[in-house]
Every structure is written in structure tokens, then in C-alpha cells.
């Protein structure tokens, strides 16, 4: 029986050595760069996932201090485990998918290692117990995603998107860092557990400034409404696998960092309802903007913004109104959103892979030639809109419930607005599905469309199964989400 730290070490080591092996393997065997890098990365994520799965039983009792490789103090808790595991699962699927998807691209020996570094950043972010340590992983996440967004550097748009992403992200990082400096200046420590006790007893007068900076800084990464502007540019321009990663786990990681900070030092929140207002604004704006999009992936990117609003709403309801179901609902939505948005982006990518165009209009009638992709896309989109038999419904339901459970006017109004948003979101999801299933076919579809190759289809099917499974029997995972927050004391 391996100890907790040994398990975690194995999981992390898989990712680290996977990164190195993937790069070196790809660099040495230039001719089969994509396949070697891709398969090594896939195997590394698989191995990591196995160890994460083995790690799970030891987390039932609560958080534990772990000295990773003897010198890295992490705190392992169920909350972090859920986020990290979702990241690893998504990365596994994306790796599998990208092996085939990236066949027209060069530089794949950098592509797959960067994905692994991204996952590594999510894992570190999930377990980091020190504010600056957290920041470093946050930065790692950012730095590994810039080149991925701009991976197709030979076209102008991805580069532009990467630049915008970098500028926004760096600004946010600076804000976070300034907040960290101020926290250190106020308390003399950066350890989150210590801070959480200091905040309760000590001076919190000064805390509004760092908390404000954290909110905006992490909020940029989490794409809260007025801070979201980089997202609709970066997500669609990235290769589809990366879009899936970005929307599925990276922005959630930003939110997770915010959540971690709020749950540790956010105790004396100076603005109780702020998160809820942000959430409502974010989901409404995201849905509205998605409504008139002409490109499939750009529409999905805006819908990611809206979904972030839902997650934030769940967390905000618990943080400020005290309804217990909210934060688990938000966490559960992080899980389901990772899968369904991942699936949606991968499907869009599959269409683009075959058609060579990202315009929704060019995909008219594609379902008749790519039935599996279209069916998977339908599942993803219906789940995103919160239609019953799918996972998205279950998580959204928890969030609505939480608002109503809180028995406050704000909670009710928030739930109603969230429900109205769900309806609004159907206004662009359904037309997208309708276009795919249209009787007439666009010339592009008539000329090029055919079902995606096996590996990509396998990736899609894995996610479809996950979504349907979580929709029909959400309970183990939903239970974990509740448990994760029940175990939470002082942020861990």
C-alpha cells in the first residue's frame, strides 16, 4: 500500500517525465514527431490518472499535508483532487484526440509537452498550500497556454489571440502578485492555513485591497464578465484540443484559485454579494453575446463565459447567502462543464478538421455525413443548455436549488435569472444543432464531410459516455462535491 505522498508523487512524476519524454521522443524521431509525442503524452496522462484514482480513498478523512518529493509541501484535499482529476481526464481525452487532429501541424513535439505542463499546473494549483506557490502554478498555467493558443503562428489570428491573452493574463498576474505582496505585508506569512487562522483573529482591515486585487486578477483568468475579453479571441483560435482544455479546465482553474483564496482569507468578505452579481452579469453577457455568433467555436467560447457565471453563482450563493448546495453545485458544474464543453469543442474541431471552415453556415447538413460527431455535439450542447437526461442539467439543478434554498430575495432572483439564462442559451444551442441536421447541405459539406477517424471518434465517445453517465446517475460524483465542501476547514 503506497502512502498518500507516494501516490501523488507517482501521479506528478508521470506528468513530469511524460513532458520530458514526449518532447525528447518527438525531437529525436522527427519523422514521427506527432505520433511519438502524442502517444507518450497520452500514456503519461493515463498513468497519472491511475494514480489519482488510487489516491481517492485516502481523501475521505479530510485534507492532509504531503511533502511531495520530500520538499514540496502540498495539502491534499478532496476539492483539489476533483479539479486535478478532471484536468487529467480531460487532458487524456484531448491528447488522444489531438494525435490525429494535429496531423496538419508541425511542432507537435512541443505541443503535447505543453499540454502536460498545463495539466501539471492545474494539479499544482489544486494542491498548493502557499499563496505564492499557488501563484507560481497559476503563472505556469498561463505561460504554458500562451504558446498553445498561438500554436498556429503562421496564421495571423492565433498570434493576435495569443498576444491579447498574454497581455490580459500578465496584467491579472501582476494584480495577484501585488495582492500577495500586500497580504505578506499585512500578515507576514503566505501559508494559506496559517493565513486563515490569522484572518479570523488578526487584523483584516487591510484585506479589502488584496481581496479586490485577487478578485480581478483571478477573475481575468476565470473570464468574469468585463474581464472576459481575451477569452472569445483565445479559445476559438487555439487548436480545438486546446480550446477544450482552456474552456474545460483552465478558466475553471482560475476560478478555483479564486475560490481557494476566498475560502481561506475571504472570511470577512467586505462585499458579500459581489460574487453573485459578477455571476449574473457574466452568464447574461455570455449568453447574449453568444446569440449572434457566426463561428461555431466563438459561440462555444462565449457560452463558456456564461457557464462560468453558473459556477460562480453556485459558489457565490454559498459564500454569501449560506445555502449549502451552492458551492457543491458549482464544483459539480466544474466537473460537468469540463466534459461537456470539452466535448463541444472537440466536436466543433472534428467538423473543422473535415470541413476546413469554422463558420456555422458551412456546417449546414453535416450531420448526415458525420452522424457520430453531430450526435455527440447534440449531446454536448443539450447538456450545456441544461436539458434533463444529461449531466449539465444535474449540476445546474443544484445551483438553482441552492438559490431557492437560501430563501432570500437575492437567491430567488439569482435562480430565476439563471433559469432564464438557460432558456436564452437554447436560443443559440438549438440553431447550431439545427444547422447540423439541416436537410440541405453546404457545398463544403457536400465536398469534404465524412466521419472522423477512429481516435477522434473514440475521444468523443468517451466524453459522451461520461456526460450521459453523470446525467443519469450523478450521485457518486455529486456526493464527492458535497463531501469536498463538507470536509473543508479553513480553505482545505
Amino acid at each position: 500500500m503506497m502512502t498518500q505522498s507516494a501516490l501523488l508523487e507517482s501521479a506528478v512524476a508521470f506528468l513530469i517525465f511524460g513532458t520530458l519524454a514526449s518532447y525528447l521522443g518527438g525531437a529525436f524521431f522527427k519523422q514521427r514527431e506527432r505520433l511519438i509525442s502524442g502517444w507518450i503524452a497520452t500514456l503519461a496522462t493515463t498513468g497519472s490518472l491511475v494514480y489519482f484514482a488510487l489516491l481517492f480513498p485516502s481523501l475521505q478523512a479530510g485534507s492532509a499535508q504531503v511533502a511531495l518529493f520530500g520538499f514540496i509541501p502540498w495539502r491534499v484535499d478532496l476539492l483539489g483532487w476533483i479539479v486535478a482529476t478532471v484536468g487529467v481526464v480531460l487532458a487524456l481525452v484531448v491528447n488522444l484526440y489531438s494525435i490525429r487532429y494535429m496531423e496538419e501541424d508541425t511542432g507537435n513535439s512541443k505541443f503535447f509537452p505543453l499540454i502536460l505542463l498545463m495539466v501539471l499546473a492545474v494539479v499544482g494549483l489544486a494542491f498548493a498550500a502557499d499563496l505564492f506557490h499557488l501563484y507560481l502554478f497559476f503563472e505556469l498555467l498561463a505561460i504554458s497556454s500562451f504558446p498553445l493558443v498561438a500554436f498556429r503562428k503562421d496564421e495571423p489570428k492565433p498570434v493576435e489571440a495569443g498576444l491579447k491573452f498574454l497581455v490580459a493574463s500578465a496584467t491579472g498576474s501582476a494584480m495577484v502578485l501585488l495582492g500577495i505582496a500586500l497580504v505578506y505585508q499585512g500578515f507576514g506569512t503566505l501559508d494559506l492555513v496559517q493565513l486563515s487562522t490569522l484572518v479570523v483573529g488578526g487584523p483584516s482591515l487591510f484585506l479589502w485591497l488584496p481581496l479586490g486585487l485577487f478578485t480581478v486578477g483571478f477573475g481575468i483568468k476565470a473570464a468574469l464578465f468585463p474581464l472576459h475579453t481575451w477569452l472569445p479571441d483565445a479559445h476559438p483560435e487555439a487548436p480545438s484540443g486546446i480550446s477544450a482544455m482552456l474552456s474545460g479546465i483552465v478558466i475553471e482553474a482560475g476560478l478555483f484559485a479564486l475560490l481557494r483564496v476566498y475560502f481561506t482569507i475571504g472570511g470577512p468578505l467586505p462585499w458579500p454579494d459581489l460574487l453573485i452579481w459578477f455571476a449574473l452579469l457574466t452568464m447574461t453577457a455570455g449568453n447574449l453575446m453568444a446569440l449572434t455568433q457566426k463561428q461555431m467555436k466563438r459561440m462555444l467560447a462565449y457560452s463558456s463565459i456564461a457557464q462560468m457565471g453558473y459556477i460562480l453563482l453556485g459558489i457565490g450563493i454559498t459564500a454569501s447567502l449560506g445555502a449549502p448546495a451552492g458551492a457543491p453545485g458549482g464544483l459539480f458544474h466544474i466537473v460537468t462543464h469540463a466534459f461537456m464543453k470539452g466535448l463541444a469543442f472537440l466536436c466543433a474541431g472534428a467538423l473543422i478538421f473535415r470541413l476546413g471552415s469554422g463558420q456555422t453556415a458551412d456546417m449546414r447538413g453535416a450531420a448526415w455525413k458525420m452522424p457520430l460527431t453531430a450526435a455527440a455535439f447534440t449531446v454536448a450542447v443539450l447538456s450545456l443548455a441544461g436539458v434533463p437526461p444529461f449531466a449539465g442539467f444535474m449540476s445546474k439543478l443544484l445551483i438553482y436549488q441552492a438559490g431557492i434554498q437560501s430563501a432570500t430575495t437575492l437567491g430567488w432572483v439569482a435562480s430565476l435569472i439563471a433559469i432564464a439564462n438557460s432558456v436564452l442559451s437554447l436560443g443559440y444551442y438549438l440553431p447550431a444543432v439545427g444547422v447540423l441536421y439541416s436537410k440541405e447541405r453546404s457545398p463544403l459539406v457536400a465536398a469534404k464531410a465524412k466521419e472522423v477517424p477512429f481516435l477522434m471518434a473514440a475521444a468523443l465517445v468517451i466524453l459522451v459516455v461520461l456526460i450521459v453517465y453523470l446525467g443519469i446517475s450523478p450521485d457518486p460524483v455529486r456526493q464527492w462535491a458535497f463531501q469536498a465542501f463538507a470536509l473543508l476547514k479553513g480553505g482545505f
Partner: protein
């Protein structure tokens, strides 16, 4: 079997049948009629278990919406009479339909609806609260609409269905309003709670509720001035006419009035209103029946008239008398309708002037029709005689001389049209061209059963009144012998005898009357042939209402809804375009948003 269980089964069985029939129709369409009869038989057998004794124990209740609404079965004699009538007559109608409806289309729909209709009536009668009552009331409304318009390809039938539906809806609105008024006051839908709480209600409010109930009953029971739908409902298959007239629909209104009579008693003017409504309806119905030439229409008006008697009895505070008459009427009217059905089936027309001398072809039908007609006009020792005299007696006791006069005139007219119809159809000069069909046996059996019941059913008065008294309802203690003694020694007997005699005299003079009317053609006769102008009035009103409705609909659809739709679509798209403008694509703007958000967040924190 306990009475509760029997009661539950009594209305569940028809519903179950109604649900099952479409399914069976899928596999074995030919079995549908027999299945329906089987269900009818089952419920009518079960009904016998209810006769034995009305329950002393707790009735069945069921929390339908916990904490808000519970419903249960109310098994007292008042509710049992309509329920049993519905079950038994319904069963007979089902048997009769085997022959009558043979070869028609959509039989599954027909039988399912008939069972549903019966179930609705039973459910309504057995409900122990207003909400359930209203629910089943509406079930009946829908069934009646569907069944009246059963031959929907015939525009007249479709129109008649719609007319019945809409007219009764007017009453339903009143009923619903009354129920809501009571429920708001007492916080409950239960009869007993509401009757208890009603005394505490202000008189105008209570009056409003009472008026609502009267309106509802008038609509359902085709009372003046909402009687117009019933004659038109004759477009339905004759079986359905029998069902509506004898067993289900029209009895519901009378039952409702009897049920809420404790409440009406609290509002002084309401009883008077009910009396006059009843009396006017009785007279009007009789008058219209006397001048009709359509066999079914005559019977329909006759029903209206008889219902008027019943309502009049309720208005006199004699719920027992009204229920007694309802019981009798159900039997003889059912009989008359089934006979009429046989005749129409044989001749192929409904106009009595094209009939005549049918006794030779269908003696059994002729004799039973005669028995039914005699019961209708109140020949001694037939059930109609006792129940009608009972009502008259109550009127005399109550001293309502105005309504009494109208009722007596109506009685004379009743005798007239009953004799006239019987004679013209069965004994007069044959006027038909076609050769009459033979009456099938399964149509004759119910006739004989009902004819026998016409002679015997009044004997049940003893157990009936005992049961009423036993369950605390106001009723005189009567046995059959007592009934005979009372009836023959009362003033009412003389009056009704006089009415019959006058009617008989009129009948003898019918040739002269006919000539007089034919030559002089007074205005009111013309009016009578047009339903005394009520139809025209209602048509005019309905047209105006429809115009208004069309305008409202246009306004609603074109302006309001379309406006909302357009507003929503334009609004969301416009907002979408507007918000997409926020996405300037300029990195400086992006950073400006960030900065502004930072300022706002910090500002909010400081503030």
C-alpha cells in the same frame, strides 16, 4: 365488500374501462363494445353493494396534495341516487348501444367516452369536496361535448356540441366562482367545512356564491335561461341523448342544487329564485315540447320541463322530493328515449308527422313507450305520478302559489304532448314510406326492464327515505303505503288529476287546435317553433361575444403577443449585437475594462 370499497370501485371501474378501451381497440377492435358492456356490468353489479346500507364508518379520504387538498368519497343517499342511476342507466345504454351503434365508425372513442361520462357522473356525485366535484363536472362537460358532436361530420352535430359546451361553460364559470368564494372564506374545499363556515359569511358574498351555484346548476341541467343547448344536443346518437337526459349530465345540476341546499337556505332570495327558475323552465319546456314535431326534440324539451319540476322542488327546500322525482324521471325518460331510439332506428326519421301506426310493427316498443308516457304525465301508480305529486304537495305546503300555477299549466301541457306523441307515433295513420326495421332483441330487453321499473321503482321510497333520515338529511319518513295514503289524500292529487284531465281534453281537441294554429298562426306559436326566440337572442349575443373575442384575440395575438415576441427577439438580438460591440477587439479596451472593474470592485469594497 365494504361500501367504501364499492364506492371507490364504482367510479374507478368506468375510468379504468375508458383508459383500457383505446388499448384494446388497438388489438381487438371488435371486442371493444363487449368490453365496454362488461365494465358497465361490473360497475352496476358493484352498485348493488352500495344499496345495502349507507356507511356509518369513515369514508375514504386521500391526500391528493398533502397539506392543501384532500379528497374523499361521500357516500350518503343524496349522492348515491345519481351515482346509481348513472351506473345502471349507463349499463342499459351500453347494452342498447351494442345494437344501435353497430357499424358506426370510431366505436372505441364512443365507448371510451361513454364510460368516461358515466365515471364522471359517479365521481361527481361521490366527491366530498367542491374541487373534486368541479373536476368531474368538467370531465362530464368535455364528454358531453365530444359525444354530442360524435357525428362530427354533420355540421349540425358539431355546432350542437360546441353549443352545449359553451352554454354549460357559462354555468361552470358561476360554479367555479362560487367554489372559489367559499374556499377563500373557509380555506377548504370540503362540503362539510364549507357548510359550517358559510353561516359566518356576509350575506352579499354568500348570495354571490349561491347565485354562482344556481348558475352552474342551470347550465348543466338546462334550466331557463340556459336551456338552449339541450334540444340541439339531440343531434347526438340517441343513446347519448338517453344518457345525457336520464343518467348523467342534466341530473348533475339538480344534484348540485340539492347538495348545496343548506347553503341556499341561508340566502332568503335564492330559494325563491330557484323556485321561479324551476317553474318557468317546467312551463317553457312543456310548451316547447307541445309544439315540436321532432320526436327527440319533444323528449328533450320534456326533460327540460321535468328538470324544472325538480329544481322547483329544491327551491321549496324539498331535496328529497326532487331526488325522488329524479329517480323516477331517470327511469321513464330513459325508457322513452330508448323507445324513441328504436323508432328512429326503424323508420330513419325523427319527424313524428312521418310516423304513425307503428304499433303493428313494434308492439313491444309501443307498449313500453306508452307506459313511459303515462309515467311522464303522472298516471296514478306509475312512478312519475308519485314523485310529481310529491313535488306539487311540497309546493302547496310551501305556499308558493305563483310557481304552483305555472307547474300545473306545465302539467296539463305535459299530459297533452305525452298523449299526442304516443298516439301520433304508434297509432295514427301510417305516413312513412320505408319498411320499418325490426327491433333487435338486445334493444328490447332494456325497454322491458325499464317499463317494469316504471311500475315498481316508487316502491323504493321507503328504503330511500329511511336512508336519508339515517344519514341526517332532511326527508319525511315514508313507506310505500304511507306514500300512497299521503298522495291520494292530498290536494296535489286533485290538482294533478285536473291537469291530466285538461291535458286529455286538449288532446281530444288536437285537430281543432291544429287547425286553429295552422290558420291563425299566432305570433307566439311562430316564436315557439323558433324556441321562443331564446336561440336567436343567444345567437346574437354569441355572435357579439365572438366578435369581441375575435377582436380581443386579434389584439392579443397581433399586438400584444406578437409585440412581445418581436420585442423579445429584437431585444435579445439587439442586446446581443450591442454587447458584442463591447468586444471591440482592441487590447486597450480590454485592459480598460479590467481597470474599470478593479476600480469598481475596490470602490464597492470601500463603500
Amino acid at each position: 365488500m365494504t361500501a367504501q370499497l364499492a364506492g371507490l370501485l364504482l367510479f374507478l371501474i368506468p375510468f379504468a374501462g375508458a383508459l383500457l378501451i383505446p388499448l384494446v381497440n388497438f388489438f381487438a377492435p371488435r371486442a371493444v363494445p363487449w368490453l365496454a358492456v362488461l365494465f358497465g356490468l361490473a360497475s352496476s353489479v358493484i352498485a348493488f353493494f352500495l344499496l345495502g346500507g349507507t356507511p356509518a364508518g369513515a369514508p375514504i379520504t386521500l391526500d391528493i396534495l398533502p397539506g392543501f387538498f384532500r379528497s374523499g368519497l361521500l357516500l350518503d343517499p343524496l349522492s348515491l341516487v345519481p351515482a346509481l342511476i348513472a351506473t345502471w342507466i349507463g349499463f342499459l345504454v351500453l347494452i342498447y348501444s351494442l345494437g344501435y351503434m353497430k357499424g358506426e365508425e370510431n366505436l372505441a372513442r364512443y365507448y371510451a367516452l361513454v364510460l368516461l361520462f358515466i365515471g364522471g357522473m359517479v365521481g361527481m356525485a361521490l366527491a366530498d369536496n367542491f374541487l373534486a366535484l368541479f373536476f368531474f363536472w368538467e370531465v362530464m362537460g368535455v364528454c358531453s361535448y365530444q359525444l354530442i358532436a360524435f357525428f362530427y361530420k354533420d355540421p349540425k352535430a358539431a355546432a350542437a356540441g360546441a353549443k352545449a359546451f359553451l352554454t354549460t361553460k357559462i354555468g361552470d364559470i358561476g360554479l367555479l366562482a362560487a367554489i372559489i368564494i367559499l374556499a377563500v372564506n373557509s380555506g377548504s374545499f370540503s362540503f362539510s367545512v364549507n357548510f359550517g363556515a358559510a353561516a359566518g359569511l356576509a350575506l352579499p358574498v354568500l348570495g354571490l356564491a349561491a347565485f354562482g351555484f344556481i348558475l352552474g346548476a342551470a347550465g348543466k341541467s338546462a334550466q331557463f335561461p340556459l336551456h338552449v343547448w339541450l334540444p340541439d344536443a339531440m343531434e347526438a346518437p340517441t343513446t347519448i341523448s338517453a344518457l345525457i337526459h336520464a343518467a348523467t349530465m342534466v341530473n348533475a345540476g339538480v344534484y348540485l342544487l340539492a347538495r348545496v341546499s343548506p347553503l341556499l337556505a341561508l340566502v332568503p332570495w335564492s330559494l325563491t329564485l330557484v323556485q321561479w327558475i324551476g317553474a318557468i323552465t317546467a312551463l317553457l319546456g312543456a310548451l316547447l315540447a307541445a309544439f315540436s314535431n321532432d320526436l327527440k326534440r319533444i323528449l328533450a324539451y320534456s326533460t327540460v320541463s321535468q328538470l324544472g319540476y325538480m329544481v322547483l322542488a329544491v327551491g321549496m327546500g324539498a331535496a328529497f322530493a326532487s331526488q325522488f322525482h329524479l329517480f323516477s324521471h331517470a327511469i321513464f325518460k330513459g325508457l322513452l328515449f330508448l323507445c324513441a331510439g328504436a323508432v328512429i332506428h326503424a323508420i330513419g326519421t325523427r319527424d313524428i308527422r312521418q310516423m304513425g301506426g307503428l304499433y303493428k310493427h313494434m308492439p313491444a316498443v309501443a307498449i313500453t313507450f306508452l307506459i313511459g308516457a303515462m309515467a311522464l304525465l303522472g298516471l296514478p301508480f306509475l312512478n312519475g305520478f308519485f314523485s310529481k305529486d310529491f313535488i306539487l304537495e311540497e309546493i302547496i305546503l310551501g305556499g308558493a302559489w305563483g310557481p304552483l300555477a305555472l307547474a300545473l299549466i306545465a302539467g296539463a301541457l305535459t299530459a297533452f304532448y305525452a298523449l299526442r306523441t304516443t298516439f301520433v307515433v304508434f297509432w295514427g295513420k301510417p305516413n312513412y314510406q320505408t319498411h320499418p326495421h325490426k327491433t333487435p332483441a338486445n334493444m328490447v330487453v332494456p325497454l322491458l326492464a325499464l317499463a317494469l321499473a316504471c311500475f315498481l321503482s316508487w316502491l323504493l321510497v321507503g328504503p330511500l327515505s329511511e336512508a336519508w333520515i339515517a344519514s341526517g338529511l332532511p326527508a319525511p319518513a315514508l313507506s310505500a303505503l304511507e306514500l300512497i295514503r299521503v298522495t291520494f289524500s292530498s290536494l296535489a292529487f286533485l290538482f294533478s288529476l285536473a291537469a291530466i284531465v285538461v291535458g286529455f281534453f286538449l288532446f281530444l281537441q288536437r285537430a281543432r287546435l291544429a287547425r286553429y294554429f295552422h290558420e291563425q298562426e299566432p305570433g307566439w306559436i311562430r316564436a315557439t317553433s323558433r324556441g321562443l326566440g331564446f336561440d336567436d337572442l343567444y345567437t346574437w349575443l354569441a355572435d357579439r361575444i365572438r366578435d369581441f373575442g375575435v377582436w380581443v384575440r386579434m389584439f392579443w395575438e397581433e399586438r400584444v403577443m406578437e409585440g412581445i415576441n418581436r420585442f423579445a427577439a429584437w431585444g435579445s438580438l439587439g442586446l446581443s449585437r450591442l454587447s458584442c460591440r463591447l468586444q471591440t477587439g482592441d487590447v486597450h479596451w480590454n485592459l480598460l475594462y479590467v481597470t474599470l472593474t478593479l476600480i469598481v470592485v475596490l470602490g464597492v469594497a470601500l463603500w
